[in-house]
């Protein structure tokens, strides 16, 4: 890119810019919901963006691969003539102020859904999205992106990356699409002076040092899972601690299990796809009644094989965890990722 890759924007102008973005596309940003929880959500005015949030309760996949999503509709005209029509979502979306781990989660989904054959529903939404991330300067209790190589600062993957620096925001450009957004906002951005770029680098170092205590020991767990060196008794004990809520799959930015369901009423109907969880007992149930993973132990094992084996890590460029920490908060039992990797590493509960 010939233009400078970093800009600066003042806080008041940032709000002005967000207002413009809202005029142009659906803007999804951290927003405080009734009760005080922060969720990525559609914002209608700039002041709804919760810039000071730590984490959101939902991953971005809710918008790119929704929990309940229509795939196609049909109509029966008379006796014959079945008309099928796929349902694509071509809404332009700008994801604003998303955390690095969540953006890394989207990049992971990109790899999953762009594998042959491409998932056109996801890819269509993705082509209509812009990702503007916000770096993290405060470690949050539950997250461990450093161990997952998914933050707190990103090198690539974003269209724009924002970093809050005392008075202003530093804006790094990651793609043409990002540059485009800057170009369209005449006068709001100024090229970033070198000191500011340096300040961002210093901040990154300092933050990484502070994040270092937040750990999940992936390397050892990866080795043991890959070579099937986790004793069955340990899987069994973890299975005792899974209450089959499915929450870990649903909050995880990288999980993609789904099932499909049809609805029909008088000559027309639609097919939806719905999130599923590989920990549910009937996930692999066959019509005959045979269930290859009837034991919860085998389901827990399959889940963590999917997340933590070299086989998948190789194909998807990284293991299936970006360190967002959501499963820690949401596991009804006690099988969140850091606990599981620690158990596997120690070989005991």
């Amino acid at each position: 890119m010939s233009q400078p890759a970093a800009y600066v924007i003042t806080r008041p102008r940032l709000a002005e810019w967000v207002g413009k973005l809202i005029g142009r596309a659906q803007v999804i940003a951290p927003r405080r919901a009734q009760g005080g929880d922060v969720a990525y959500d559609i914002v209608e005015t700039p002041d709804q963006v919760a810039w000071d949030y730590s984490t959101s309760i939902n991953p971005l996949k809710r918008f790119l691969f929704p929990q309940g999503d229509e795939l196609l509709r049909w109509q029966r005209a008379g006796d014959d003539g079945l008309q099928l029509e796929p349902t694509y979502d071509e809404t332009d979306r700008i994801f604003l102020a998303v955390r690095s781990c969540d953006l890394s989660g989207v990049l992971f989904l990109d790899r999953v859904f762009s594998r042959e054959p491409e998932d056109v529903y996801y890819m269509t939404r993705r082509q209509h999205s812009t990702l503007i991330s916000l770096t993290c300067s405060e470690p949050v209790e539950d997250c461990f992106c450093v161990c997952a190589d998914a933050g707190p600062f990103l090198e690539t993957g974003f269209d724009l990356q924002l970093t809050a620096l005392s008075d202003d925001y530093l804006v790094e450009v990651g793609t043409e699409k990002g540059q485009e957004l800057i170009n369209q906002a005449e006068g709001l951005f100024a090229p970033a002076p070198d000191e500011l770029i340096q300040a961002r680098r210093d901040l990154e170092k300092e933050v990484e040092a502070r994040f270092a205590e937040h750990k999940s020991y992936f390397a050892a767990a990866l080795r043991k899972v890959t070579f099937d060196r986790v004793p069955d008794e340990l899987w069994e004990e973890m299975a005792d601690r899974c209450l089959e809520c499915g929450g870990c799959s649903f909050v995880c930015p990288t999980c993609t299990c789904f099932l499909t369901a049809d609805w029909q009423s008088e000559g027309e109907g639609h097919r939806d796809r719905l999130w599923d969880s590989c920990l549910y007992s009937c996930y692999t149930l066959e019509a005959s009644g045979h269930n290859p993973r009837a034991q919860r132990r085998d389901r827990v094992k399959a889940r963590f094989f999917h997340k933590l084996s070299y086989q998948f890590a190789k194909e998807l460029e990284t293991h299936g965890c970006v360190g967002c920490g959501r499963c820690i908060a949401t596991c009804l039992g006690s099988n969140d990722m850091p606990t599981v990797t620690a158990r596997i590493r120690r070989g005991a509960i």
């Binding site: 927003r31 919901a33 009734q34 009760g35 005080g36 929880d37 969720a39 959500d41 559609i42 309760i57 939902n58 809710r62 929704p66 929990q67 309940g68 999503d69 005792d240 601690r241 209450l243 089959e244 809520c245 499915g246 929450g247 649903f250 909050v251 099932l259 369901a261 609805w263 029909q264 009423s265 109907g269 939806d272 719905l274 999130w275 599923d276 549910y280 007992s281 009937c282 149930l285 019509a287 009644g289 908060a329 949401t330 596991c331 009804l332 039992g333 006690s334």
Partner: protein, 662 residues
């Protein structure tokens, strides 16, 4: 706001969740991190809650019976028919000929309005809900049991407890939000004592697992009390110690098959505990000797080191608004707020507010109402699925001159109706639910009802007008304002107040948010009057097994709100269509009888027989065979519905059976 905070519509825990909305479309469900019940977690049901609203099987238009089939009709046709028929029946036979069943899953406002309609417009106190059998019903009228029919402790007491009993309940199946807390307590080293014929998942973490012969739970409770009390000096005139004086560990072993050493271990743990907590559900109350067993459990606190501020009983309801339905006067003998219909001053207060004279005679409970009333109006209740005697219930409904069912799905009860009115799901209306620990919480409208369906409170208002008692409310908030006026325990509650926090817990003495003030039942800590012989059936060579109906097991599979949510339906294996009832049997017994997983067997009792498919289980104790209570229709001939001798409440008793390969 695109994320709408609301309350889970399934069990009585009342976890907080957000419905994700785009436009008016429901996209999904997210757990609320800050919510005090869910604490960022939901069980599978909660995570799929939006699916029940978006289900393609929802009722979308009113239906009216023409000949043998239910056919689509307009609201005008359906409601005027209901208005005319109810008016006519009232005129012919009086209000007492009409019964009204409201709902453990409708909002407080709707339950309040329907009870109001029943009493003011129809002139009947036959107001109840069949799901009330979830607790030990009928007891609330007996002052000595009062503390047993309300949840006195709270969910967070599980974290505070230093000894947890799981008494005939499997929270993993029934109350996952409670299970999550028990699991954490167990992991932190708190001893868990499981009392059950079928070990639940938490049993794996339990320190003591007691398997009394089904039907001898009262004797086990008495045995534990005996051990615990023998550690302390009996107080002057202590009737409890005298009651359990003969329940020595050896006696207890003889009565229950629980080894005396286990009775001593568990009893000593109880004696030493500062904060013992007994978690129980309908599994305990709907068993034989349920009332006495609960009385014994209520004395556990006294037998321990707990002081007066600690409440040792945690009763959990299976329905999101079980508590609220009762609070709102969906009871044959109480107006809202447990104000007796028999009291003249109470009636006068309500009569003035409602502008109508109210009937003074107590009404009939659901299980007696059916078959005795000529017309029945049912909102969000499903007696066919809730009452123990399915055949009798169907027969009674079939004999009803006029049956109206207002629901969101075509339930087995609705299938029999003359008129079906499509209501709104929890996601499509405003209101409140009161959870099992008396926490009143908001339910918020996030989407529109499907087709022509309408919010239930609107339907009731419309109908009341047609019955000559116009109801004029702009919103459920206004209904709540009226409730707060008339119902002391809700006097502090308003939507504004609820919006400011995660809900408000009420207590009997009006001290809102006081955790446990005001529940002293007269019989509290007294224990049962006596410990009778076990109600366990005698096994012999001909009938060597004891068959138990397990209320925790597979309870989901019978739940309309579950099987109509796609993900949960798949999870029930319900896609596979009708299957034989599963009979859980211990591995040892299966080996002896050469039975394998899925083997078709005939279960014979003295009263009849049924076929089932064997499920080989490590969770069931030898000698016991377990059937999900939801299978009771198929099992009716071997598990004949009976009634509790003291309360008249229908219960399912364990029976001796034989099991043979077909």
């Amino acid at each position: 706001m695109p994320h709408v905070l609301t309350t889970c519509p399934y069990c009585g825990c009342g976890c907080g969740l957000y419905l994700q909305v785009e436009g008016r479309r429901l996209l999904g469900t997210t757990a609320s991190a800050g919510h005090p019940v869910g604490q960022g977690r939901l069980c599978a049901k909660g995570w799929h809650a939006h699916e029940l609203a978006t289900s393609g099987t929802r009722l979308r238009t009113p239906l009216v019976r023409r000949g043998s089939s239910l056919q689509q009709a307009s609201w005008e046709e359906a409601l005027s028919l209901v208005g005319e028929r109810l008016t006519a029946i009232k005129a012919e036979s009086g209000g007492a000929a009409i019964g009204v069943l409201a709902s453990a899953r409708a909002t407080n406002e709707e339950n309040y309005l329907l009870a109001k309609l029943a009493r003011s417009a129809l002139g009947t106190n036959n107001v109840d809900f069949s799901a009330r059998l979830d607790a030990l019903p009928g007891l609330f009228d007996l002052p000595k049991y009062r503390h047993l029919s309300l949840c006195t402790a709270g969910l967070d007491d599980i974290a505070a407890a230093d000894l947890v009993f799981l008494w005939q309940t499997d929270p993993v199946e029934e109350h996952p939000a409670a299970a999550a807390r028990v699991l954490r307590a167990a992991e932190a080293g708190v001893p868990v004592v499981e009392v059950t014929a079928r070990r639940g998942q938490l049993g794996e973490l339990a320190q003591i697992s007691l398997a009394p012969r089904p039907g001898s739970e009262l004797q086990l409770a008495a045995g534990l009390l005996h051990v615990a009390l023998s550690k302390t000096e009996p107080a002057e005139g202590d009737s409890l110690a005298a009651t359990v004086a003969n329940c020595t560990p050896d006696q207890t072993e003889a009565a229950t098959d629980v080894p005396a050493s286990d009775v001593i271990r568990a009893g000593e743990a109880l004696a030493a505990a500062d904060k013992p907590l007994v978690i129980y559900t309908r599994g305990a109350s709907l068993g034989p000797q349920g009332a006495d067993t609960l009385m014994a459990l209520s004395a556990f606190g006294k037998a321990s080191e707990a002081d007066d501020s600690w409440c040792s009983l945690l009763w959990l309801s299976s329905y999101c608004n079980f508590q609220g339905a009762r609070d709102m006067g969906v009871l044959p003998y109480f107006l809202a707020g447990y104000q007796p219909v028999s009291e003249e001053t109470t009636r006068a207060k309500f009569a003035e507010a409602w502008g109508a004279a109210l009937p003074s005679e107590a009404g009939l409970p659901s299980w007696e109402m059916l078959g005795r009333v000529r017309a029945l109006f049912v909102m969000g209740d499903d007696p066919v699925s809730s009452l123990p005697d399915v055949a009798a219930t169907r027969q009674a409904l079939g004999n009803t001159d006029f049956l109206v069912v207002q629901d969101i799905f075509l339930t087995p009860t609705a299938e029999m109706a003359h008129v079906v009115l499509p209501g709104a799901s929890f996601a499509e209306k405003d209101g409140t639910f009161t959870n099992t620990e008396r926490r009143v919480q908001r339910v918020r409208r996030a989407a529109d009802p499907p087709g022509e369906a309408r919010a239930d409170w609107e339907i009731i208002c419309d109908l009341s007008g047609r019955l000559g008692r116009p109801m004029d409310y702009a919103s459920p908030a206004q209904v709540m304002a009226e409730i707060a006026e008339l119902v002391p325990i809700y006097s502090e509650i308003s939507y504004q107040r609820l919006d400011e926090d995660w809900g408000v817990r009420w207590s009997l003495d009006g001290a809102v948010s006081a955790e446990r003030a005001g529940f002293g039942g007269e019989g509290e800590e007294e224990g049962p009057a006596s410990v009778s012989q076990p109600a366990a059936p005698t096994v012999d060579e001909e009938y060597p097994f004891v068959l138990v109906a397990d209320h925790s097991l597979g309870a989901w599979a019978a739940d309309k709100l579950v099987v109509n949510a796609v993900g949960l339906r798949r999870q029930q294996g319900a896609d596979r269509g009708e299957q034989l009832p599963e009979l859980w049997m211990s591995r040892a017994d299966c080996q002896k009888g050469e039975l394998r997983e899925g083997t078709r067997v005939r279960v014979r009792a003295r009263t009849g027989e049924m076929d089932a498919a064997v499920h080989v289980s490590d969770a069931v104790h030898a000698g016991a065979v377990v059937l999900s209570a939801v299978m009771r229709e198929a099992a009716a001939s071997v598990l004949p519905p009976g009634a509790d001798s003291e309360t008249g409440v229908p219960v399912l008793r364990p029976v001796a059976v034989s099991v043979e390969k077909v």
